[in-house]
């Protein structure tokens, strides 16, 4: 049985792969086809995952239709850009949030390092 985190990732992958909104039933069928792990996935599990994703602001539910249809709020690329922005960002407390291997590098420093690398 896959963990909730893995399921969230699979559901998002499905929603990102098509622009259309999908119902929990459709998502379960698509997951069953694509994934090895989720053969006997219950619709309620998919709904749980979807409501978690909704709380996190990753999917939205279309109002007024039944059964509810869900869609991804923005593209995978947008989310990746935001993630990288947080990781590379220069907010003063960013360092306390996550510790990066290399901080910001000025162009002058980078030039010196390039010379060092080609020489070595």
């Amino acid at each position: 049985m896959a963990s909730l985190g893995e399921l969230e990732r699979s559901v998002m992958d499905q929603l990102w792969s098509t622009a259309d909104a999908a119902t929990a039933n459709e998502l379960r069928d698509r997951l069953a086809q694509s994934e090895v792990q989720s053969k006997d996935l219950a619709v309620t599990t998919v709904l749980t995952v979807l409501s978690r994703l909704e709380k996190k602001g990753l999917v939205e539910r279309e109002r007024g239709t039944r059964p509810h249809r869900y869609r991804a709020i923005s593209t995978r690329e947008d989310h990746t850009a935001r993630l990288m922005h947080e990781a590379l960002g220069t907010a003063p407390d960013r360092e306390a949030v996550l510790a990066r291997f290399i901080g910001s590098v000025t162009e002058a420093e980078a030039a010196t390092l390039r010379r060092l690398l080609t020489r070595g």
Binding site: L88, T90, V97, L98, A99, R100, S104, T106, L113
Partner: protein, 325 residues
């Protein structure tokens, strides 16, 4: 008790300005980052203690010969709602200032913690759907992005190291291992707690330039400490190459201002190592390329003794003011 409050005030001034300035310029810190780290913590703690202590002792001094006795009498005055002609305006002023500053420091610490953890949680939520566990390395996630990036996200048992595709491709397996080792060291040595405390200190006292100085020194020292852990398993030149490759690769890939609208505020033109308090890459590299001998055991002991003394003096002045009168 009056003399004790003056001594505490003098100590507070020394620890707020000349001492941190001198330490931030000292060259020996890169030779023993651990001892330097202990010294910075002791300066910050002793500084806060003497700052608040000076005002407290001054304000309570008419009420008793030592702090405990004075606090007891002050409490009974307040509880019995009695007027006191012993306490003049300046005494009350100092007591209020001590209470305000103390509360302010504690609140800022809590607020900073809440903000940091909520940012981490949000980041982790995004990571959960955007990254894949690395097949080769334990407790490591890989995100799909060409820029070479490595970082760790602390969170108790859920702490993870995050690498980008770009990084995995750019580095050899030895270099990659050194990077992962460096990030793990941040987690196991709990560097995020130090960065949190000094970040809170900076936010609580933004008008005190040395609060920023100390935070910058601390973030530089934790990088050196993590480098030293990585050096135990990887040869220096491998670590040097990893640092240089990642630095060169990330030089052009810092988020541009257009992207900044997505996230929190970032004003253009404020980027750069000197402004956001990052450890200068150059300092880390020069330390690895031309290794200096570590401080001798005696020197390290001396630094640690000074750190201990720095904490002991204000504590003694607070609890036993009779010593100086």
């Amino acid at each position: 008790m009056l003399a004790a409050s003056y001594l505490l005030a003098l100590l507070a001034i020394l620890l707020a300005w000349p001492v941190p300035v001198a330490l931030s310029r000292a060259q020996w810190t890169s030779r023993s980052p651990f001892a330097a780290m202990v010294l910075w913590q002791s300066i910050a703690l002793a500084g806060g203690l003497s700052m608040i202590g000076a005002m407290l002792v001054y304000g309570l001094q008419p009420l008793g010969d030592n702090l405990l006795q004075a606090i007891g009498r002050a409490a009974s005055l307040v509880l019995e709602n009695k007027a006191s002609d012993e306490l003049q305006f300046w005494h009350l002023f100092a007591l209020c200032a001590a209470a305000l500053l103390g509360t302010h420091l504690v609140f800022t610490l809590g607020l900073t913690y809440a903000r940091i953890t909520s940012q981490r949680r949000r980041h982790r939520e995004l990571l959960e759907v955007l990254s894949l566990p690395s097949g080769a390395i334990e407790r490591t996630l890989v995100i799909n992005h060409p820029a070479p990036v490595a970082y760790c996200l602390p969170g108790g048992s859920r702490s993870v190291t995050v690498l980008s595709d770009g990084l995995v491709e750019a580095l050899s397996s030895g270099e990659l291992a050194a990077v992962v080792e460096h990030e793990r060291a941040h987690l196991t040595q709990r560097h995020h707690l130090l960065l949190w405390a000094f970040e809170a200190w900076r936010q609580a006292l933004p008008w005190l330039p040395t609060s920023r100085l100390s935070r910058e020194a601390v973030s530089s020292l934790v990088e050196m400490l993590a480098d030293d852990v990585a050096r135990r398993t990887a040869p220096d030149e491998v670590l040097v190459r990893a640092i240089a490759l990642v630095a060169v690769g990330s030089a052009g890939s810092a988020p541009d201002p257009a992207e900044a609208s997505l996230g929190s505020s970032r004003t253009p033109g404020t980027a750069g190592p000197s402004d956001d308090g990052e450890a200068s890459v150059a300092a880390r590299l020069s330390r690895l390329l031309t290794p200096q001998p570590q401080l001798t055991a005696a020197q390290t002991t001396a630094v640690l003794a000074v750190s201990g003394l720095m904490l002991a003096v204000p504590t003694a002045l607070l609890l036993a003011p009779g010593l100086v009168t």
